[in-house]
Symmetry: C2
């Protein structure tokens, strides 16, 4: 209960102190979650008292079932205000979440927005999830080159006081057709002669190329844009259309979020877990998504067992085979997982792609072959010592060599092939891989044993 009281106190202070945001939206969402778990009425009361800006910020952070409460409790006019307070990318996102819960409501809210907001949201929604356009904000500080620098700065003052702009780090200079010409970092702008036009200021520099910004097309893959931002250590990147018209900007904090989220997604996908389902507080969705992958795994495990079943007589007459066979499969699985993790990660960091397959395979198979030789010999000696049969040692050594070598091969080629087919290389690749390493491991070991030993 201490936690509850603390949560109440913090929310209370946050609501009362209008000048300063005491809590981040994420923290506020966490505390609201605690309150709701204990006291539904108080939760509704807090929602009613939150100002629209905080409401919008916090609504994005809430899990689905709590957002459902929000849209049922809070009057539509206030939700509309909340949407209008948000930056365009966030408003689009929130509206998408609302739509997932209640399509009618989402439509009602959208219709109440003013026309500018509507058209911005429509445009942002037209992008796919993996397109840069879906991640941009359309709120920008821009000017034409002939504007006097001081006037542009005065406009910045106005836009900021109206709460239209936050987190400004560049002034974008466009021509009369809205084509992006230059981007002036504020650290440069502040050194400009305020009485002269922007163009005059820029032309004074020997090296005006430094005002030519790195840009992203709205249709670029967001992953590629993140690569550019990282390679050039950018704080913000302007987004343009195919004609060069300035559409919006993607800021460093959006890039942060994207990097974190895609790392989580990758790690979860490799383990057969859905990142979206896990974010929900209810266990059912997370459990279902995990069950899906377990079902696939069960299917592949049955296939491997079926292969074991082909050798039932061999096992019955030589039980050491049953004792040793899990080792061959386990070592193969591990070796394959190593190659898989490295390949998936390097693909996602943009270091390799399908055309590098030959080079990458050479590297990975060399490593797994070497380890196959080493551990084949080690395990061969262990098996010899354990069961006093050198030929059994030879069989397990040879089958480990084959299985580890193939594990390296499949751990590399599976994600590269998935990527080539435009499928997320992390999704399902572990399961496919262990199907190979288990089946091949059992088949090699038991097959060689039957052939050589019996």
């Amino acid at each position: 209960m201490v936690e509850l009281n603390e949560a109440k106190e913090l929310i209370q202070t946050h609501i009362e102190d209008e000048d300063q945001a005491i809590l981040t939206p994420y923290e506020l969402a966490q505390h609201l979650k605690t309150v709701k778990a204990h006291d539904e009425e108080l939760f509704a009361d807090y929602l009613a008292r939150l100002d629209p800006e905080s409401l919008g910020d916090v609504a994005i952070e809430l899990p689905e079932h709590m957002l459902k409460d929000v849209i049922e409790t809070v009057p539509s006019e206030k939700m509309v205000q909340a949407l209008e307070e948000l930056e365009s990318d966030d408003a689009t996102e929130l509206l998408k979440y609302i739509e997932d819960i209640d399509e009618e409501k989402a439509k009602e809210l959208f219709d109440s927005l003013d026309e500018d907001d509507q058209s911005e949201i429509l445009r942002l929604r037209s992008y796919d999830d993996d397109e840069a356009g879906a991640y941009m904000q359309t709120e920008l500080f821009w000017a034409t080159g002939d504007e006097i620098t001081g006037d542009a700065v005065a406009r910045l003052r106005e836009l900021k006081s109206e709460g239209e702009l936050e987190n400004v780090s560049q002034l974008f200079i466009i021509d009369k057709d809205k084509i992006l010409k230059f981007a002036v970092a504020l650290e440069e702008l502040i050194l400009f002669d305020f009485t002269k036009s922007l163009d005059e200021n820029i032309q004074k520099y020997d090296d005006i190329d430094k005002f030519k910004p790195h840009t992203a097309f709205d249709s670029d893959y967001i992953q590629d844009v993140v690569g550019v931002v990282e390679d050039y250590d950018l704080n913000v990147i302007p987004v343009i259309d195919s004609k060069g018209v300035l559409l919006g900007r993607i800021t460093a904090d959006d890039i942060h979020d994207f990097i974190q989220e895609s790392a989580t997604e990758q790690m979860y996908n490799l383990a057969g877990v859905s990142d979206e389902a896990e974010e929900e507080d209810t266990l059912v969705k997370a459990g279902k998504a995990r069950a899906f992958w377990l079902l696939i795994n069960l299917g592949t495990a049955i296939i491997s067992s079926f292969i074991v079943g082909l050798f039932d007589e061999a096992i019955a007459s030589y039980v050491a085979l049953a004792i040793l066979m899990p080792i061959v499969a386990s070592m193969g699985g591990n070796t394959g997982t190593q190659a898989l993790a490295v390949t998936v990660r390097r693909i996602s960091l943009g270091e390799i792609e399908f055309k590098d397959a030959k080079h990458v395979l050479k590297r990975e198979v060399s490593i797994s072959l070497t380890n196959g030789i080493i551990f084949g010999i080690v395990m061969g000696l262990v098996a010899w010592a354990w069961f006093g049969a050198w030929l059994l040692g030879g069989v397990i050594a040879l089958s480990m060599l084959i299985n580890l070598c193939l594990a390296g091969f499949f751990g590399t080629i599976i994600p590269l092939t998935l990527k080539r087919l435009d499928i997320d290389p992390a999704v399902g690749s572990s399961v496919v891989l262990t199907t190979f390493t288990d089946s091949i491991g059992f088949f090699c070991f038991l097959g060689l044993a039957k052939w050589i030993l019996l």
Copy 2:
């Protein structure tokens, strides 16, 4: 060979066009790598012709064996210049890499730096890898509150033209004891009255709290600092000591790098791969690091097999047990890996820690228990149908239930405990986990079978 010619051309242009950096340091490093693979002499020639700034930037990006060539080929005076051109955090990093290769050389270079650079590097080196201090740059744009705004801006112009400052987004205001008082974003500073002092400008605002920056202590865990930067969407965070004295700043691009690197490290550690060893181009280091984890895995696989060996008579008399036992182990391993991936990731994102163990365990064990029931029943029916023995189905159902439930438990408690012991929860946890899931799986299944069926 096309690739080589392209690389040559790009490097050539980069070296000749002094005004503009054509390639990022990373790209330059990649192309130099290609050149070196084909033509050692040309590689040395390019190194000699690179300007010190590019040389420093690129040296950080090179793998160890190429950096070795650099310090053997490039004269010490030029290396010293390169170090001086780098920002303090980067210079410290490069010097550390050089020290790993040639301690004498590193000492020689360090001794040739000017005193200021030396003392900054010494201070940065005194921090641990996980401390915020190790990630800061000491180059800052600061002023005292009584300075006239226009004078501060004039100083900025000077510092920038001397190449002392890059990527400025805030002016830090300190008192005479260097205690950090305020941070003024450039988007605010540009709106200040340049003829008045900074303090006068600040005091005009109703809400001067907005100039109170979020700060990090130099001794803070870098992971926590990343959390603050993300929660508040910061572009830069000032670093202070325990007395509040301003020491440096950590910028968004360093945070990006940290996020990417720690995600890679986590994913690799989970798979039993060393991120540092993989970055090297030589296969030996990567292979060795992987072999280490394979060796541990071999040890645990032998333990599991030993457990199987306890039931050799049961297997010999009922070979279906050998056929079905890998399924129990495999499903346990997968269920545990799901819980493990989620727990490791949530720990690293700061969402959970050891004190939340009860809550997290409840969630994870509920999911794995539910899936244990479902897949126990499914597999029980499959086994019944396959081998025509309903009691065998009952045994596998019960052992899957137990193993999956315990897998969820261990998949959660292992990383939480490692974290509690201040060990990276991703390192080795997969191997420990599968030791449990394999051993328990085999023991439950074979033990129950022996007890009930035979």
